[in-house]
C-alpha cells in the first residue's frame, strides 16, 4: 500500500531560503560550475593588454595551473575607448576613461612592458621592441588595430584639434581636442561641418555616426541649427553594417538635415586652407568588412575627386592590423582580409594555419566585431578553445559574431544595438525588455553609467 504524498509545508524562513538558493543558482551559469584548472607548463604569450589581451590574461591565469603566461603591453594606462565619443561630445571628462593597467594585470602573469616588434610564427617567437624575444607554445594575438592616418595625404594625428580637424579615434587627447574643435565651430555661429567614414573596417563602427548625432544635438541646442551645414561623406552606399540600423540612420540623417554623399573617401586634407579632398570610389566599393580595398588603391591616378571647404571636419582614418602583424605570416593570405587582418576562423578564433595561435579583438579578420562587446563574447571562446587545443581536444566553443553598439542618436538617448553573424546580421538582444529598434533613455543610461563597469568586469575576466 502506498502512502499518499503529503503536501509540502514550508514556513516563511524555509521559503525565503529556498527562494534565495534558487536565485543564486539561477545566476550561476553551468560553465562556471564546471570551470576547472588545467595543469600545464606551456608558455603562453598574450600580445596586447587592451580589452582583449587583459581579459585573456585574467581568464588564462585562473584556468592554467603552472603555465608561464606573459602579457606584452608597453602602456601603463588602460584607456576605456568606448568612452571617447562621450569625451569628444563634451559629456564626459577625459580622466573618467583612464585607469592604471597595474590594476588589471593578474598576479602570476609576467607583464612585459615592451612593444611587440615582430612575430616569427614558424619558430614560435615574438620579437620585442628592445631587441629581445619571447618564445611561446601558444600565442594569443590581441594587439588591437592600427590607425592609418598617413593614407590621407596631409593628415596626421597631431593635427587633431587644430584647423577645425577632429578625430575621436586618435587618442584620449585627440578626443578632447575634437571636443575643442567642435566647441570652436559652434562658437563661430555658422559654417560647414564634414563627417567622414573610412573605406576599411574600423573599430566601433558606430563612432563616426555617434559623433555626427551628438554634434547635431549640440547644434540644435544653439537654437540656430539652420546656420550650420552638416554633411556626411561615406565610401559606400551603406553607413552601418546592420541593415535595419543602416536604414534608420540614413532616414534620421535626412530628417535632421544632414546631406549624405556616398561613394566618397577622404583622400587628402589641406589644414591651412581648411579644404578636404574626396575621391569618388564608385558604387562597387561597398562599406562592408568584405571590401577588398588595398593600400595601393588609395593612390590611384585619374580618380574623380572633389574639393570641399569646411569649418569642421571629423576624420576617420583607414585601419588595419598593426604593421608587425601585417609583416608576419599570421596575416590573412587571401580572401577579403588578405594583407590587412589576422587570419582566424571567425567562429573558433583559432588561426587558420597555425593551430597554436588564437586571435581576439580588433585585430582579427571578421566581417564585424571590432568592439569591446565583441571581446566580451570572444574571450570565453578563446579561453575554452585554447584549453582544448592544449589538451589536443576538438575546439567546441564557437563565437556567433555577437557585437554591440549603443548607437547614440543624440546626447541623452541611444539604441542598444546588438547583433551577430547569423540571418543577415540579425539582432541578438540581451534584454527582452529593450527593443534594439527603440531610441531610449535606458539604453543611453547604460552607455553613460553601466557599460564602463561591465567593461572592467570583462577585463578582470568576470563577465
Amino acid at each position: 500500500m502506498t502512502r499518499p504524498l503529503e503536501p509540502l509545508r514550508l514556513d516563511r524562513r524555509q521559503l525565503l531560503k529556498l527562494g534565495l538558493g534558487a536565485g543564486v543558482a539561477g545566476l550561476l551559469p553551468l560553465g562556471s560550475l564546471q570551470a576547472s584548472t588545467l595543469s600545464t607548463t606551456a608558455r603562453v604569450v598574450i600580445l596586447g593588454g587592451g580589452a582583449a589581451g587583459m581579459a585573456m590574461a585574467n581568464r588564462l591565469s585562473r584556468r592554467l595551473d603552472g603555465a608561464r603566461i606573459s602579457l606584452v603591453e608597453p602602456r601603463e594606462i588602460h584607456h576605456y575607448q568606448p568612452g571617447w565619443t562621450l569625451v569628444a561630445s563634451g559629456v564626459w571628462k577625459p580622466e573618467k576613461t583612464m585607469r592604471p593597467n597595474a590594476r588589471f594585470v593578474p598576479g602570476g602573469v609576467d607583464w612585459v612592458r615592451q612593444p611587440a616588434a615582430g612575430i616569427d610564427a614558424s619558430n614560435r617567437r615574438v620579437k620585442l621592441g628592445d631587441g629581445s624575444s619571447l618564445d611561446y607554445d601558444y600565442l594569443v594575438v590581441a594587439t588591437g588595430l592600427q590607425l592609418n592616418y598617413h593614407l590621407i595625404d596631409g593628415m596626421s594625428p597631431e593635427l587633431v584639434g587644430t584647423h577645425g580637424i577632429g578625430s575621436v579615434y586618435a587618442s584620449i587627447d585627440g578626443a578632447t581636442r575634437t571636443r575643442e574643435a567642435i566647441d570652436a565651430w559652434i562658437a563661430q555661429g555658422s559654417g560647414k561641418g564634414l563627417f567622414t567614414a573610412a573605406p576599411t573596417p574600423v573599430k566601433c563602427a558606430g563612432a563616426p555616426l555617434k559623433m555626427t548625432f551628438t554634434t547635431l544635438s549640440r547644434l540644435e541646442a544653439t537654437g540656430h541649427r539652420d546656420d550650420y551645414q552638416v554633411e556626411f561623406l561615406a565610401p559606400a552606399a551603406g553607413l552601418f553594417s546592420q541593415p535595419w540600423v543602416n536604414d534608420f540612420v540614413k532616414q534620421r540623417f535626412d530628417d535632421q538635415g544632414v546631406t549624405r554623399r556616398h561613394h566618397y573617401r577622404l583622400s587628402a586634407i589641406d589644414p591651412g586652407g581648411r579644404q578636404a579632398e574626396f575621391t569618388f570610389v564608385g558604387p562597387d566599393s561597398e562599406f562592408t568588412s568584405h571590401h577588398e580595398l588595398r593600400e595601393a588603391e588609395f593612390s590611384q591616378e585619374g580618380e574623380r575627386t572633389v574639393i570641399a571647404d569646411y569649418d569642421f571636419i571629423h576624420v576617420v582614418p583607414p585601419m588595419s592590423a598593426p604593421d608587425f602583424v601585417k609583416a608576419s605570416d599570421l596575416i590573412a593570405q587571401d580572401g577579403p582580409f588578405r594583407g590587412e587582418w589576422l587570419d582566424v576562423d571567425i567562429h573558433t578564433l583559432q588561426h587558420n594555419r597555425y593551430p597554436e595561435v588564437f586571435g581576439i579583438g580588433d585585430v582579427i579578420g571578421a566581417p564585424i566585431n571590432k568592439t569591446a562587446a565583441s571581446v566580451k563574447a570572444q574571450a570565453p571562446v578563446v579561453e575554452a578553445n585554447l584549453l582544448a587545443q592544449i589538451q589536443n581536444q576538438p575546439l567546441r566553443a564557437r563565437h556567433n559574431g555577437y557585437t554591440s553598439c549603443p548607437m547614440i542618436t543624440g546626447i541623452g538617448k541611444a539604441m542598444l544595438v546588438e547583433f551577430g553573424y547569423d540571418n543577415n546580421l540579425d539582432f541578438l538582444p540581451s534584454f527582452p525588455f529593450i527593443d534594439p529598434r527603440d531610441e531610449s533613455w535606458v539604453a543611453w543610461t547604460m552607455k553613460d553609467r553601466m557599460l564602463q563597469p561591465a567593461y572592467y568586469a570583462v577585463l578582470e575576466g568576470q563577465a
Binding site: V91, G412, K413, D438, W441, D448
Partner: protein
C-alpha cells in the same frame, strides 16, 4: 555571468558614489536610530508634511534622474524607460520618507503620535 561578475560590475558602478551612499545611509540610520530612541514608531506617527515632502523629493526625480545621466525627461520614451524611471522615483520617495518622517518627529516632538495603548485596545 557569475555572481562575482555581477558584484564586480556593481562595485565599479557604485565606486564613484560610494561616499554619497555612505553619507546617505549613515544619515538615514542616524535619524532612524535617534528617533526610535525617543519613541518614534513609523506606523503610529502621522505627519502629512513629511509625507508630502517625501513625495515631492520622489517627483523631483522626474527632472534630476535623467539630468544625472546627462539626459532629459523628453528622452524617457519607451515603456521600459518609464518603468525604470518610476521605479527609481519610488525608491527615492521611500528613502526620502525614511529620513523625513522620523526627522519630522524629532523636530515636532511626538504630538501627532497615536497612542499605542489606544490602538492596541481597538
Amino acid at each position: 555571468m557569475t555572481i562575482q561578475g555581477v558584484l564586480t560590475i556593481l562595485m565599479y558602478a557604485l565606486a564613484p558614489f560610494l561616499w554619497l551612499i555612505v553619507v546617505g545611509v549613515s544619515l538615514l540610520a542616524a535619524i532612524q536610530l535617534v528617533a526610535r530612541l525617543r519613541g518614534y514608531k513609523a506606523l503610529y506617527y502621522r505627519c502629512l508634511g513629511a509625507n508630502l515632502a517625501a513625495l515631492s523629493v520622489g517627483l523631483s526625480g522626474l527632472w534630476w534622474i535623467p539630468f544625472f545621466t546627462h539626459s532629459r525627461l523628453a528622452y524617457v520614451a519607451t515603456t521600459f524607460d518609464w518603468v525604470a524611471l518610476v521605479g527609481a522615483m519610488f525608491g527615492l520617495t521611500i528613502a526620502a520618507w525614511l529620513v523625513l518622517h522620523p526627522l519630522s518627529y524629532l523636530l515636532r516632538g511626538n504630538r501627532k503620535q497615536l497612542p499605542t495603548t489606544k490602538l492596541k485596545l481597538s
